[in-house]
Amino acid sequence: MMPEVSPMLIYHLVALFLLCTGLFGVIYRRTLVGMILGIELMLNGAGLSIMASAQLTPTPNEIGQVGTLLVMGIAAAEATLLLAIVLVVTRRFKGVEAARLATMRG
């Protein structure tokens, strides 16, 4: 049965695309910063999905908007910490590749 193509569907599909692309990027990228980019993509996808679900349904809009704002705030906080961590890790491991961080091997 062919689903109906609604705006929400499109928004959701875009969000899904962002999620998958971000996931792909996290795994595909070699450097840590590359992984951070992927994480940001995924967070964006999540926020978009939350907005679409709230705005385009009978659900009150504020829930979605507050949720997206929270996601954004968390993303910002997380990006701060990611920067600090990346700096520490890079100094510690003397390199920027994620493959170096294999001390927890085995």
């Binding site: 109906e4 569907l9 996931l23 940001e40 385009l56 590749e97």
Partner: protein, 171 residues
């Protein structure tokens, strides 16, 4: 209808912007170009927010993501000197590409099926809510997440500072 098709055109324009940007982010060899791609994606998403009758959130998107997060990532690139890396130049192996594709496809498959077949009906046009209503919403029912997010931000900042200091102490 011309407005409807215009709307769709704008929508898909934004979607294309997002797609290209995302692909640039993950596939670009140069990290700075990846960052540019990310910024494109962020702008695209902001546009989508605008289209969803949530201008405040769209502006917030731009402010926070493009204005802060992207700069942070840029700082990360600069401080770790990863742009000049020959690592990215070598490129990831074929196996990794397959693995990554597989990982990406798994949620794509399941969540996609869920989205397509299980989603509730949607409105065509979203209602715009006032910012004051949003503000009142944050301060009355959702006061707890509001306070928590501020706490979170404080802790994150403190943590980042400590992480930075710790390095110096070790010398």
């Amino acid at each position: 209808m011309p407005s409807q098709s215009l709307a769709y055109a704008v929508l898909f324009g934004h979607v294309a912007f997002i797609v290209v940007g995302a692909l640039m982010t993950v596939l670009s060899q140069n990290l700075v170009r990846a960052l540019v791609g990310l910024i494109m994606t962020l702008f695209g998403v902001a546009g989508l927010f605008f289209l969803m009758s949530a201008p405040f959130i769209g502006l917030m998107q731009i402010l926070i993501y493009v204005g802060a997060v992207s700069i942070l990532i840029f700082f990360a690139i600069m401080l770790t000197q990863s742009w000049s890396s020959g690592d990215e130049a070598q490129g990831p192996s074929r196996k990794r590409a397959v693995l990554a594709s597989l990982t990406a496809l798994a949620p794509a498959l399941f969540l996609g099926l869920t989205i397509i077949f299980k989603s509730p009906p949607s409105l065509l046009v979203a209602e715009e809510t006032e910012v004051s209503a949003l503000g009142r919403f944050l301060l009355e029912p959702y006061i707890l997440p509001f306070e928590l997010i501020s706490l979170l931000l404080t802790v994150a900042m403190a943590g980042a500072v400590i992480l930075g200091f710790e390095r110096r102490k070790q010398r």
